[in-house]
């Protein structure tokens, strides 16, 4: 069976190599891909959409419909992780507490745990006492990471960036907080329900913008028809429309990253974890 698999892989690889012989040269200006549609986009993007970054315009306007579903794919991943992994907290067998006056660690079993006690501090089962440097460094970094993320989202029109990249950086900042401290602290600041709501809300911003265009005007996602709402001309409305959907993408990507992290790192219990 193993040899059969190897032979199949070699055969397919050989086929792939064989058929590349007919490819146009790398970066060939006369290849079909550079001649058929690309000239239109390069010449007309600024005229059509008032966005200097051609990639952003194609991503969020010409092929904005694809991007909406790519965002939905990310939401689907978050929902799938939730559906398959999430289990209720009551199945947790035991918890660890630190008795602060004496420094003794205690393991509690059953379902009665100290609530908001002055002397008992809840700790994770894999708790390590010395994390001052990590905590402090991460606290310093997280603000800058988040500001940079907002910059990446906002500057998608002019430079490499946009909703997906900015959203990932934003999500990473919260995950960094969870890693540097613990999962419970992160969930206290950015709860699971918030994550779930934001995940759906991001796609809703995107699809809702599209549906709004459809209701006011003619086509789904045709940002032209947003111009009366935004108070700009029709071309500029496209540019603003792209920005609105980029925000939607960023919200979804951020929230889904965090949501998936919560479920994966705690094996669905969200009781303790990294």
């Amino acid at each position: 069976m193993k040899t059969l698999g190897q032979i199949t892989v070699l055969f397919c690889g050989g086929l792939l190599l064989f058929f590349t012989s007919d490819f146009p040269d790398f970066g060939d200006a006369n290849s079909p891909a550079s001649l058929h549609l690309s000239p239109y986009f390069i010449e007309n993007t600024l005229k059509d959409t008032a966005v200097p970054n051609v990639v952003t315009a194609i991503l969020a306007d010409y092929r904005g419909y694809d991007t909406m579903f790519e965002t939905t794919v990310i939401l689907t991943a978050g929902l799938a992780c939730f559906l398959l992994l999430r289990i209720p907290k009551r199945e947790v067998k035991s918890r660890y507490y630190l008795h602060e006056p004496t420094g003794v660690t205690l393991r509690f079993e059953g379902d009665k745990y100290p609530q908001k006690s002055d002397v008992f501090k809840r700790i994770d089962s894999n708790w390590v006492p010395y994390d001052l440097i990590i905590n402090f460094t991460c606290r310093l970094l997280i603000h800058f990471i988040q500001i940079f993320a907002l910059y990446v989202v906002a500057h998608g029109h002019y430079s490499p960036g946009g909703g997906f990249q900015g959203g990932v950086v934003l999500g990473a900042s919260v995950i960094l907080f969870a890693i540097s401290g613990n999962l419970r602290a992160a969930i206290k600041r950015f709860g699971e329900k918030t994550a779930a709501l934001f995940s759906a809300a991001g796609v809703f911003i995107y699809a809702g913008t599209g549906a709004l265009c459809m209701m006011i005007g003619e086509h789904f996602l045709n940002y032209n028809f947003l111009s009366p709402l935004l108070g700009t001309d029709r071309i500029m409305a496209r540019s603003h429309g792209i920005f609105i959907v980029e925000i939607g993408v960023a919200v979804t990507v951020m929230a889904v990253m965090i949501w998936i992290y919560y479920n994966l790192s705690s094996a669905g219990k969200q009781d303790e974890g990294l």
Binding site: P32, G64, H219
Partner: protein
């Protein structure tokens, strides 16, 4: 008909509405599920109903005017932007998808509530996403957009079937590996097409391909696209993922995914062969028809023989699905008008039959709590209406007139004779005989054996690793039902009515199959094919 024409003028956005409604509703369902357990179901049912109505209006519009509807997403014309194309074929498949998804959904309200407790929001949301993925795959006129929607349908499909019996996570993992390989192959094919033509729009690529018939990039694009689709539709050597994935999952998901996934994949294969690559390229230039028909013949024999070996009702259905895939692929690659008509007609009929059989499986499981064939003892006395519907579905799979299964098989057999593929004809007849054996065995058990005491009612709830903490009340309720042996005790009406509706549809589809072929399918097949 003037009433409908007036609606059409007001609803030019219907091709978008049919897919956007489930998408928006899935977001609302996911969000509302965090606060309330009832609302997600209502939202989802309303959205599926709107989609269903839209697809009815669309198909009437297409049939009446005969004009292909083109819808420009974001307002950009074809090669630049993404367009949706509603022609006879896609309108027909859209109707199949939306009606199957809607009927299966409303009949399973109770199952969703018990099996996916506290996760209704996520489950209903994924159900809608899966449906909108299939709708988009069918309606799109853009090769890359098709891949994106395939991703949505696959990913939500993995999640939907991942939660079932204890074995379902492993089965889903296998499905995930193979499904991802299939989708990646398709994507690679689209990439090759883009390198060769510089376009992603299906109509645009189709207009370029005749100028470069001999290009090896196009050839490889065809090979790898088809390989990906064959994995996804589970034809014989690539079928390994299907039986476990579809039989271990929960009944709600099986009722949605089993009738639709393979059929939509076959639709895409037909779309790619006929619309993207021309029939000239597929049938005359490549000369793969013979090979594909043989593959289909092997699939039919394999599927039927394996179905014969199964003791479990749902696993048996899974192997029948594999055999039916052989019918459609073989019928299409016969390459003549009758064969292709039969294949397309069989997509519709087989979706209806599979839906009916899986809905019946859901009702049996609800009643007896087990999946084996022996659990159906005495069912005729207990559930006469369900069994009547089941008998219709069984007759249809066997291929007895006036049910729809007979008519598509008739077309396929005539096509096989016209093409001189007598082995394909033999395979079809053999498979029908095997189906007759399979289903009459079940009907016999259900008719003549006495009803068995099920003192382990709703065992299947225990075996599902879901959040069930209230099976006690169900248990009591069921204990009541099984105590009175011999008394008619049907399934609840909300399960029964959709099931009976689907069963009656099997006969209606059969009686009107001539109309469907004359008014819809004839327009699908290019005039070059005789």
């Amino acid at each position: 008909m003037t009433f409908f024409t007036t609606i059409f003028t007001f609803l030019p956005d219907l091709p978008a509405i049919i897919i956007i409604t489930p998408l928006l509703a899935s977001l609302l369902a996911a969000a509302s599920g965090l606060f309330n357990r009832k609302t997600p179901f209502l939202i989802a049912a309303a959205a599926l109903f709107i989609s269903f109505i839209s697809s009815i209006i669309l198909i009437m519009q297409v049939v009446e005017t005969g004009i292909v509807i083109e819808y420009r997403m974001a307002g950009w014309a074809a090669p630049m932007g993404i367009v949706y194309i509603i022609d006879h074929l896609s309108a027909l498949i859209l109707l199949v998808i939306t009606s199957a998804a809607f009927l299966n959904f409303i009949s399973n309200r109770k199952n969703i509530e018990t099996e996916f407790r506290n996760k209704e929001g996520a489950f209903n949301s994924l159900y809608l996403l899966f449906t909108s993925g299939l709708i988009g795959m069918t309606a799109t006129g853009d090769a890359f957009n098709l891949y994106v929607l395939m991703e949505i349908a696959s990913l939500s499909g993995y999640a939907l079937i991942g939660l079932g019996s204890n074995r379902s996570p492993l089965a889903t993992l296998n499905y995930l590996f193979l499904g991802t390989i299939g989708a990646t192959f398709y994507l690679l094919g689209v990439g090759y097409l883009y390198i060769a033509t510089g376009s992603l729009n299906i109509a645009d690529i189709a207009s370029i391909i005749p100028t470069m018939m001999n290009s090896s990039i196009i050839l490889f694009a065809f090979i790898i696209c088809m390989a990906g689709l064959l994995i996804k539709m589970a034809i014989f050597p690539l079928h390994g993922w299907l039986p476990n994935a579809y039989s271990d999952c929960s009944n709600v998901s099986a009722g949605l995914i089993a009738p639709l996934t393979t059929k939509v994949t076959i639709y895409i294969m037909i779309r790619i062969c006929l619309t993207l690559f021309s029939p000239e390229y597929t049938f005359n230039y490549l000369k793969i028809s013979e090979f594909m028909v043989w593959l289909a013949i092997i699939t039919i024999f394999f599927g039927s023989l394996s179905a014969l070996a199964q003791k479990d009702y749902k696993r048996m259905l899974c192997y029948i699905i594999i055999a039916e895939v052989g019918y459609m692929v073989g019928g299409f690659f016969l390459g003549n008008r009758i064969g292709i008509s039969g294949a397309i007609l069989h997509i519709v009929n087989d979706a209806a039959m599979t839906l009916a059989l899986f809905m019946a499986a859901g009702i049996f499981l609800w009643k007896t709590g087990e999946d084996s064939r022996d659990s159906l003892k005495g069912m005729f006395g207990k559930m006469p209406f369900t069994m009547a519907g089941f008998t219709l579905a069984a007759l249809s799979v066997v291929g007895v007139p006036p049910t729809c299964g007979f008519f598509s098989k008739w077309y396929l057999i005539s096509g096989g004779i016209a093409a001189g593929q007598y082995m394909f004809v033999a395979a079809l007849i053999f498979s029908s005989l095997v189906n007759a054996v399979l289903f009459f065995r079940i009907l016999e058990i259900a008719h003549f054996e006495p009803f068995k005491e099920h003192n382990h009612d709703h065992v299947y709830h225990h075996s599902h690793n879901t959040l069930l903490h209230h099976h006690q009340d169900h248990h009591d309720e069921h204990y009541e039902t099984t105590k009175h042996n011999g008394v008619v005790k049907e399934a609840p009406l909300e399960m029964l009515i959709p099931f009976i509706a689907v069963s009656i549809m099997l006969v209606i589809l059969g009686l009107y199959s001539g109309t469907i072929v004359a008014n819809i399918i004839d327009f699908v097949i290019p005039a070059a094919i005789i």
